[in-house]
Amino acid sequence: MVATELIVRDLAFGLMLGCVFSVVAHGLNMIWGVVKVVNIAHGEFIMLGAYGAYFLNLFAGLTPLETAPVDAAIGLLVGYAFYYAFLHRELRNKETITLQSEMVTLAATFGLSLFVSNLAIILFTGNPVGVNYNPGTLLFGYLHVPLAALYVAILSVLIIGGTWLFLERTFIGSAIRAYSQDVTATELVGANPAKVASLATGLGFAVTMAGGALLTVWIPVGINPLMGALYAPISFVIVVLGGPGKMWGSLVGGLTLGVVIDLAQAFTTAQIAYAAAFLILIPVLVFRPEGLLK
């Protein structure tokens, strides 16, 4: 029943979907990996990024690809504000985040998620909207590849690679890496821990919101205030799969999820495919709590 053509197609679409999942989760990964905080309101900032793409398209005619850098700039500022409002009190003067602080940040960002999503309903109404962006399709034999999805996939990989390069090759990057290993080590390399942590949070938000913009290519009429409730859990799964703090982990996790969903759909029902995609998390946590990536 299942023809090779179908599997090739599912694989191709699964990989492209996986790329956009990766970039959507990548911001969460950066914050989680560096400041060790899981932002429960992650999905809401994806949503804001998506609305950014919608409004810039509506008023300025920008495509989602062009919106991404604008969203990222906004995200950087939002991330700074977020750090000082929510994390600074819990993180300053601490070597490692305590379990108690972890619970505080979980609860506080959970409150933020309720707040932002409902504010969005008031501001944007619950009416789902979308961005029309269709630069055409590319034909590889029998395989039609929508260019929009392809661009987004390439851009996603570039963003993830870019953050990796930034962390590996720049001074600020090495300060961030030092912070993620050991907070006091940050001071040894001559940087202020709070500044490093807030910058890392800002970068995380920048990527998150840019990811939200790129995601709009995949959800033609799916931008709505409650979309975060789906993409936050997907992001959690991806980061755990890849391993928090590992930049390429986002890509590994995202591609795994994308391919599992699309390939499993070829062999079984969509419901089972989705259930499986979420349930992978449990055995991974039991047997490889540090993530799939070494």
Partner: protein, 310 residues
């Protein structure tokens, strides 16, 4: 041996007595409004056993509510059983699932546990849709003759049991062990506390009462549908209630349910989104500045209140 109960318990009994009287005296109209309040309270107490007492943040508690809802709906629509039997089955299944799930995911600490609870809900939602026996689109609806007082007093009894149980667990030996785990799990095990057993106990109590409350909820709306049944809104409301009321305490969940539900009743029809907006804001403030919620605030404000409120 258990100590003499304090005023907190009597206070809670008085509130419960008033709720019972309200339903009997003011009739059907009031009772059908208060049913939802009590369902919320029951859910808040149920998540209090795990998130409030043990400190493991459970974003997926709605899972047990859904299990209870489906148990009751299936019992009624396929076997024509008495709804009380459905509530019993819901509670039992909640307990059994909590046992199975807890054995695996209670090994994960902190945020990993929280995330595991989220993905379980999403997976369960898709699995339910896979079973045609649970209705097209996971929808089972049924029609029972009108039994407002039966529903009301079932959930009332459940809440009462939860209050007494919470109160005595907090005061008993188990309560000491549970608080030790919440503070320092490793240190607790090195003075002889078994975190595994106590965490599982808390989680199973949560599952049991979550299932029971979910069953009553399905009973009160005469059906269950997959989308709303697995809607995270309920999980979030439960969490918000105990965070606002005061985690781990025996007053907190009821207080939180009242604070969250009663204004919602008025706000819903004026500024629809204002209520979750305010709840979100309250949760942020409580989490960052008042970790023990309203009860903690009251206890800190006055020495006598500190002794009275548990």
């Amino acid at each position: 041996m258990i100590e003499k109960p304090g005023l907190t318990l009597y206070g809670l009994f008085i509130v419960m007595a008033l709720l019972a009287a309200a339903a009997l005296l003011l009739g059907v109209a009031v009772s059908s409004l208060l049913v939802l309040l009590l369902v919320y309270a029951a859910l808040a107490y149920s998540i209090n056993f795990i998130t409030g007492m043990i400190g493991y943040v459970d974003f997926g508690h709605v899972l047990f509510m859904a299990i209870g809802s489906y148990a009751l709906a299936a019992m009624i629509s396929y076997y024509g059983a008495n709804p009380l039997l459905g509530v019993g089955l819901g509670a039992l299944l909640g307990l059994v699932f909590a046992l199975g799930i807890g054995l695996v995911i209670l090994r994960f600490r902190g945020v990993y546990f929280a995330i595991a609870t989220v993905v379980l809900v999403l997976a369960a939602y898709n699995i339910v849709l896979q079973f045609p026996q649970l209705g097209a689109g996971g929808e089972i609806i049924f029609n029972l003759t009108f039994q407002p007082l039966a529903t009301y007093f079932t959930i009332w009894t459940i809440v009462l049991i939860e209050i007494v149980l919470t109160y005595y667990v907090n005061r008993s030996r188990i309560g000491f062990g549970i608080r030790a785990i919440k503070n320092e799990e490793d240190a607790a095990s090195s003075v002889g506390v078994s975190p595994r057993t106590l965490k599982l106990t808390g989680y199973m109590l949560g599952g049991l009462f979550g299932g029971a409350a979910g069953a009553v909820y399905a009973w009160s709306i005469s059906g269950v549908t997959a989308g709303p049944a697995f809607d995270f809104t309920f999980s979030l409301l439960m969490l918000a209630m105990i965070i606002i009321g005061g985690v781990g305490t025996s007053i907190g969940p009821l207080l939180g349910a009242i604070v969250v539900y009663i204004p919602s009743y008025f706000l819903l029809t004026t500024v629809a989104q204002a209520q979750p907006l305010i709840i979100g804001l309250l949760v942020i403030i409580m989490a960052l500045f008042l970790p023990d919620g309203i009860v903690g605030l009251l206890r800190r404000s006055n020495e006598r209140l500190r002794l009275l409120l548990e």
